[in-house]
């Protein structure tokens, strides 16, 4: 029963977060322009679209977004359009924003989710190494590297890595178009497409993994070191349980709990990494789309993409909330 309560509470919190994001979107994309005397409708209407005259487009968008309504009424129309994914038409691409996002979302998901999992694993594996060599050179080196990943600009190291592995050693493909095109010039389909896409994404995924594991590694290590001196570990040792079993079974399982909590905060960081990596590696994902939108000052694209990125983050957070009780049995009773 209390588990149910925990879950309802968490889901409610995440829905509130989503609601906050919608309000925030509204403030940025509707209220701010209005304050500065810019008609938001102007920002949403391309000069031409499928040969339709601009006035007709304005009218159509007014109907959809209620852009001519007063702010308070407009909010509900706006919220409805976001919740139903009516995100407007990109001015620079001249396509519905949602179809642009649909094409790019899987790519970003393919980047984010594996690197999230891999970086957590890396954080734990290196953390275990540190814990078992506490205070020795290996531990100090690993911990220092982890702290440094926090300060090394992802975009800088990314370029170096891309140059070295992609252009210099030629281990990984550097061009997506080439990667997913077969030798006779046709775009690959089916399994072959996904295999080659993944081959192309390997370097970026590994890179995001390496730049984002640091904080969780430090967290896991410090927690593990603290646990090493805790009562239950002493008791386990006194019971003659093998040291390695204590480390790999008991310490790991306990120290991983705050790491999972931390992932929630790291998500914001991860998406920043994704924007850079997509830009550097030329990956057509949500982050690069956002940069394109910003370069062209394409408001519908910016708004829609930002909303989807935030929504994606909220969904990952919620997924974490849902698996959390499996990791920490105590959570139900908090």
């Amino acid at each position: 029963m209390s588990l149910l309560r925990y879950l309802t509470k968490r889901i409610a919190e995440r829905i509130a977060l989503l609601f906050g994001i919608i309000i925030f979107n509204f403030i940025i994309f509707q209220v701010l322009p209005t304050i500065y005397g810019v008609n938001p409708a102007e920002l949403y209407v391309p000069l031409t679209y499928k040969g339709l005259p601009r006035s007709e487009l304005v009218q159509a968008l007014d109907n959809q977004f209620g852009l001519n309504l007063p702010l308070d009424e407009r909010f509900f129309v706006y919220m409805k359009s976001l919740l139903t994914f009516h995100l407007g038409i990109s001015m620079s691409y001249q396509q519905p924003v949602i179809s642009l996002i649909e094409a790019r979302f899987p790519v970003t998901a393919l980047l984010v989710i594996p690197s999230l999992i891999l970086s957590t694993i890396l954080a734990i594996v290196l953390g275990l190494y540190s814990i078992s060599r506490q205070g020795k050179v290996g531990d100090v080196a690993v911990s220092f590297t982890s702290i440094m990943t926090y300060f090394i600009p992802a975009f800088w190291l990314g370029e170096i890595v891309l140059y070295f592995f992609g252009f210099y050693l030629r281990i990984f493909p550097t061009n997506l178009a080439e990667a997913i095109t077969s030798s006779n010039g046709h775009t690959l389909v089916g399994v072959a497409y996904w295999v080659d896409l993944l081959k192309f994404l390997t370097l970026p995924i590994l890179f995001i993994t390496v730049i984002s594991y640091g904080v969780r590694n430090i967290l896991f290590r410090n927690n593990g070191v603290e646990l090493m001196g805790s009562n239950f570990v002493n008791y386990l040792r006194a019971r003659g349980i093998d040291d390695r079993k204590i480390l790999y079974k008991h310490i790991t399982r306990n120290a991983v709990i705050p790491v999972v909590t931390r992932v929630g905060i790291d998500i914001a960081f991860l998406f920043a990494g994704v924007v850079f990596i997509e830009d550097i590696f030329n990956i057509p994902g949500l982050g690069r789309l956002l940069v394109r939108g910003a370069e062209n000052l394409d408001v519908p694209l910016l708004g829609g993409d930002f909303y989807i990125i935030s929504l994606f983050a909220v969904i990952i957070l919620l997924a974490l909330d849902l698996i959390y009780p499996l990791i920490d049995p105590r959570v139900k009773y908090e």
């Binding site: 940025i28 300060f151 975009f155 850079f276």
Partner: protein, 470 residues
């Protein structure tokens, strides 16, 4: 206080951070002394050397060994019959009727080909039109001067001083016999090929000015000693960028900006974070609930996308026209970076509020504000510095990232946009301009790490309780 300073100085990491911060502060302050180019992104300050020139000191490496520096020479002629010096910079040449006199200027060239070649001199031809002047370099006819300008010949005014300039970058089929002699498809590349043709490798080369008299009486020419200049592929402390701008100047002015950014953002973040955190933690109740929800919201929302969106919207609504873009970016980043600080301050305030010494002062009837500033704020100093350690690197990284993407500052050098430009057209063909790519990255890392260690050292020394986060 003395004890605090002694304690700080006994930490290696603190010394490291102080040295790094002082180093960057010094180069930031001394920027105008260190370099004469204050904004190499301006066209007038570009091409101080060839694009992608390596640092001068890099010529100690074998693969850069032969790269030429910027060269500036005044050539002097080899003495020959008919050539008589007038003064230190002019010679008089008398050419017999129907004859030809070659004036040779030796050039000792110790390097591989330069980026370009510029020659300039003053020629006073005779008043009659029966002459022809040809310039040869490495036995290639590079320029022809004639009173009758039939391309590729260039016209000269008779009997008057003519200021002649030959620049390899402006040669074309109508002003240089060299270009004319090339196969048609190679002509567009003539500017690039020219230095390789005339100065292919180290050695002794001659600029020959050949004066021909086609008339029937001897003629006299006056010729100044030519100035030779060429941009080299090895330049300065840190080489050049793709526009031949000095990377060292960019780095120095970038440091200036990044340090300024770090300082202002620190003050803003600490200010906003402290106020919100104190309000939430000390006032409590509904205020706490609202502020805490707001903090959580900003903590969970993906920051960089938000930053990009906000800056675009401010750009669109015309705010940027009224406000300096750099200032706006600074304000937005600080505005987005306070939540971490606010959250920690709130937690600490909450815990301090219920500590015995605070409760005792409350029992003694001290006022709320007095308690706040006498007991709570001083105890937050350590944690405030620790937040500096975490937030300032964050700000530097966020701003650099924005510049890197080309969405932030582009008008003057910052470390971020240096990296952006340096890696814009990164490919195998372009090679890896390490002298341009590495310094800003290392600068960012060093400055961030320095702030981190500075903050953690201050936290250790100043905090009365063990408050180490993470």
């Amino acid at each position: 206080m003395n004890k605090v300073i002694r304690d700080l100085l006994s930490r290696k990491t603190f010394i490291f951070s102080i040295v790094v911060i002082l180093f960057f502060a010094a180069i930031a302050l001394l920027a105008p002394v260190l370099t004469s180019y204050n904004n190499p992104y301006q066209v007038s300050q570009q091409f101080v050397a060839a694009p992608y020139a390596v640092p001068a000191w890099a010529t100690i490496f074998p693969q850069y060994h032969d790269l030429p520096p910027d060269v500036r020479l005044t050539l002097t002629p080899v003495s020959a019959s008919g050539v008589t010096p007038v003064n230190s910079s002019f010679v008089k040449i008398t050419v017999p009727a129907g004859g030809e006199v070659n004036v040779s200027y030796p050039i000792r060239w110790n390097w591989s080909s330069p980026y370009n070649v510029i020659l300039s001199f003053i020629l006073v031809p005779p008043a009659t039109s029966d002459f022809n002047v040809n310039l040869y370099m490495n036995n290639i006819n590079i320029m022809e001067l004639s009173p009758v300008p039939i391309p590729p010949a260039v016209s000269v005014t008779l009997g008057k001083p003519n200021s002649i300039t030959f620049s390899s970058q402006t040669i074309n089929p109508s002003n240089s016999p060299y270009v004319n002699s090339l196969p048609f498809q190679d002509q567009p590349l003539a500017s690039l090929e020219f230095p390789k043709a005339v100065l292919p490798r180290p050695g002794m080369y001659y600029l020959v000015i050949s004066l021909q008299n086609t008339g029937n009486s001897p003629e006299t020419f006056l010729l100044s000693n030519p100035h030779y200049t060429s941009l080299g592929y090895a330049y300065g402390r840190l080489g050049t960028d793709d526009n031949g701008g000095s990377v060292f100047s960019e780095f120095v002015y970038g440091a200036r900006f990044d340090l300024y950014l770090a300082l202002v953002a620190s003050v803003l973040i600490i200010g906003i974070g402290l106020i919100i955190g104190l309000l939430a933690g000390y006032v409590g109740g509904f205020t706490d609930l609202t502020l805490n929800a707001l903090t959580d919201f900003f903590l969970l929302i993906p920051g960089l996308p938000l930053l990009i969106v906000l800056i675009s919207i401010f750009d669109l609504t015309g705010v940027i026209v009224n406000v300096n873009k750099a200032v706006l970016i600074l304000l937005i980043i600080s505005f987005l970076s306070w939540p971490g600080t606010a959250k920690i301050i709130r937690g600490q305030t909450l815990s301090l509020r219920s500590r015995t010494f605070v409760e005792a002062s409350r029992a003694l009837g001290e006022g709320k504000l007095r308690i706040l500033f006498r007991h709570i704020v001083p105890n937050l100093m350590g944690i405030l510095f620790a937040q500096l350690a975490y937030d300032v690197p964050g700000v530097i990284l966020a701003e650099s990232g924005l510049d890197f993407l080309g969405l932030g500052i582009i008008g003057f050098p910052t470390w971020g946009n240096m990296l952006g430009f340096a890696t814009n057209d990164l490919s195998f063909a372009n090679g890896f301009a390490w002298w341009w790519v590495l310094p800003p990255g290392i600068g960012i890392i060093l400055l961030s790490t320095a702030f981190y260690y500075f903050g953690t050292a201050m936290l250790d020394v100043l905090s009365p309780y063990k408050l180490r986060g993470e």
